[in-house]
């Protein structure tokens, strides 16, 4: 796998619009789960976070399609393109995970598993045929 391309992808994810929404959401989430600490709040937060992740990926849909298209043209293999998409999405997942890490560290693994399963679904249904 081309390490430099993965780094470029992560950097690209940070510069796209969707990342700013994720940053704002993470700040709000940190406040919410720190102040309103309960199991219901945690459950809602997990759901909201997945929705936020989806919204941020959708808002950058054109940029992601451009990225996948360009990578495919220059000869990146399918699994490398999928890995790049994972890196792109996980850059955002990691930012959201900070909120859980601050307020409820034991839930981070569950969040990462859930969000990565969701990323696989998003790739399969939205970007596989780009």
């Amino acid at each position: 796998m081309h390490y430099k391309i993965l780094m470029k992808t992560a950097k690209y994810s940070v510069t796209c619009n969707g990342f700013s929404y994720v940053l704002l959401y993470t700040l709000s989430l940190t406040l919410y789960i720190t102040i309103c600490f309960s199991e219901i709040a945690l459950f809602i937060s997990l759901l909201l976070s997945i929705m936020m992740l989806y919204a941020s990926l959708l808002s950058d849909r054109l940029s992601i399609a451009q990225l996948i298209n360009a990578y495919s043209i220059v000869g990146l293999k399918r699994k490398e393109i999928v890995a790049s998409f994972y890196i792109f999405a996980n850059t955002r997942v990691l930012v959201i995970a900070i909120a859980f890490l601050v307020a409820y560290p034991s839930i981070v693994i569950a969040f990462l598993t859930l969000s990565n399963t969701f990323i696989a679904l998003v790739y399969y249904f939205t970007f596989r045929r780009v």
Binding site: K8, L67, G75, K77, K79
Partner: protein
């Protein structure tokens, strides 16, 4: 004896549309030689882009064979086709296929990163290529701030940086006025002359035919040399 670069044998491609199977390419046969400039002219929907994508290994035919530089593309798996795109065949889509938020340098660097070229060698090669294309001064500009003609040059530079044997350009003049279109077409001729690259262009604009030494017409999925 001419050096054969592409052999296309009885190529068929179907699409499913509203439950019907429609043949978009119907038994195409063609042979292209090294340093040919081939123009394929045809109306929209004739199957030009599909044909070019099959040559680039981005789509697969339903029937027939394509042999590029001795590699039978129909027998290769997706990973091998990606390797072919990274080294032998370069494809320039109609919308240029560039990453608009990357700089010119970063876009042109991508194929070299895939090829595993060292940083110093990458820098030298990119600089040489951008100078050759006449866009070296735009090296650090983001692609989204470039004009259509400049974007086309960046797309050609990205395709050229790995010195492919076969350069495929989909409607290279579609988004340009005729003055800029002529400059781009002259650039393809220059590349063809300097690197002995086989160039295949498809267009709905018959004016590009005068820039080719091999002229083809594609109507209703049937390719004929004219």
């Amino acid at each position: 004896m001419k050096d054969v670069v592409v052999i296309v044998k009885n190529l068929w491609k179907y699409y499913n549309y509203m439950g019907h199977r429609i043949a978009i390419l119907r038994g195409i046969n063609a042979t292209l030689y090294r340093a040919d400039i081939a123009c394929i002219y045809g109306p929209s929907g004739a199957g030009k882009t599909t044909f070019l994508k099959i040559l680039a290994g981005l789509e697969r035919p339903d029937l027939g064979e394509i042999i590029v530089e001795g590699y039978n593309l129909t027998l290769l798996d997706d990973d091998a086709l990606a390797t072919i795109r990274a080294s032998i065949v370069s494809y320039i889509p109609q919308d240029y296929g560039l990453i608009e938020d990357f700089t010119v340098y970063e876009n042109v660097e991508l194929p070299l990163l895939v090829a595993g070229v060292s940083e110093e060698e990458r820098r030298v090669t990119i600089l040489e290529t951008l100078k050759y294309m006449g866009i070296a001064e735009k090296m650090h500009t983001k692609v989204r701030y470039l004009s259509g003609g400049e974007k086309q040059r960046v797309a050609i530079a990205r395709a050229l940086v790995v010195t492919p044997s076969l350069l495929l350009a989909d409607e290279p003049t579609a988004n340009l006025d005729w003055e800029n279109a002529k400059k781009v077409l002259e650039l393809f001729i220059k590349i063809n002359r300097d690197f002995k690259t086989t160039v295949v262009m498809v267009s709905h604009d018959a004016r590009i035919l005068e820039f080719a030494n091999r002229k083809f017409a594609l109507y209703d999925g049937v390719l004929k040399e004219v």
